[in-house]
Symmetry: C2
Subunit: 232 residues, 2 copies
Amino acid sequence: MTASAYAWQSVRAEALRRIRTREWPPGAMIPKEAEIAQELGCARATVNRALRDLAEAGYLDRRRKGGTRVTETPVRRAVFEIAIIRHEVEQSGASYGYTLLEDRTERLPDELAATLDQPRGTRWRRVIALHSAGKRPFCLEDRWLNPGLVPRERADFAASSANEWLVRNVPFTGGELSFQARKADTALASRLGCARGSAVFGVERITRTDDAAVTAVTLTYAPGYRLTTSLG
Amino acid sequence: MTASAYAWQSVRAEALRRIRTREWPPGAMIPKEAEIAQELGCARATVNRALRDLAEAGYLDRRRKGGTRVTETPVRRAVFEIAIIRHEVEQSGASYGYTLLEDRTERLPDELAATLDQPRGTRWRRVIALHSAGKRPFCLEDRWLNPGLVPRERADFAASSANEWLVRNVPFTGGELSFQARKADTALASRLGCARGSAVFGVERITRTDDAAVTAVTLTYAPGYRLTTSLG
DNA sequence: AAGTGGTCTAGACCACAAA
DNA sequence: TTGTGGTCTAGACCACTTG
């Protein structure tokens, strides 16, 4: 059958059908919850659950007193899961390798300090590590850590990545993420085992708890990397 | 006060607090809904709403009969909204420009045909267009369109992008999306107004309705482009 | 077989925004 | 002021999974 096992999913499917067939065209007001509930023979709460779900997915625009409208141009969202790099490698079937390359305390570059709301000249811990898949370099990690939130004596990154330590030990509440394409300079090319000037995929991420920045990381993937997801 | 206006949000906040403070440590089982409801003095449905929300956000792992556990390594998700390119440019404050460069029917490359579940040798419409910000090239669009779903006589892309026509006229049900870094070849560099060999950011997207592929597009952004979002 | 989350209902009241 | 969605409850039954 077309209808799902649960009533609210059937209601959702029926509403989505009406949107897609333009029985409820873009921009149009749809009947109120109570009417739909009566028509489909279920409780209003069930209709509410279904329509709320469609609204979260971007198909409907709902307002108290204003009623529910079909979105003019549904906003499509792509969701990426931020995986632990080890899992990403292992999932591809390759064996995962990790090498710590550098680990010292350094002065934050002024621009980064500003982004992280730190005074100029602040010193943070800087860790550079290489993640590999089989024998091939997979991703270079260049990370700055707030020494106040990540005590050096409690966080040893010789054997396993800062990524994993942080996930387990410093719950974070927010941050920023950006993707970009970059050209590999000599140092990067040497570490990633690719030609100088190669186009490489870069991810920059800043992680915060409440308002204090915890870590800023730049991940650079070896050439050929693709970040993929499906649209629902 | 810390608690939200609505009861289920207060319950959510309280549960999240217990997770963050490790009162409910990673991997631990938390009390069952009925117990939490009694403790916090609300209905079980209210607790259900709160915990379901935390489970969707990746903090909890719930199973019937198995109870609810705190996720060992919370999966963080990044959500990108797939904007219409015109809006993306306008939002940056620049004036938007659009130029149609090519529009003809061509044979699908074999590899692409396979991905799109089309027979080898199938001919689709191919549209190449440039989006610009002010006087600078912003993004080159190279798109294939299923002629059965996008009739040439009803879809004219001389003045506005296929992107916008599709959003308004062909509701889609799914697809795939991938990001990668690419090196600009001579043709691309010329059209994007950058040096040959530049690292450029590429997006590939395939859009389907039910099971038929509607369109496959490759967007290549001029050097310097960053795709950004915030983590919740 | 039993226990826990998932759903559903009927009715009620609340919150917000439009008139 | 009024109407619509948002939430809440108490109780019930269902569905999945583990023992």
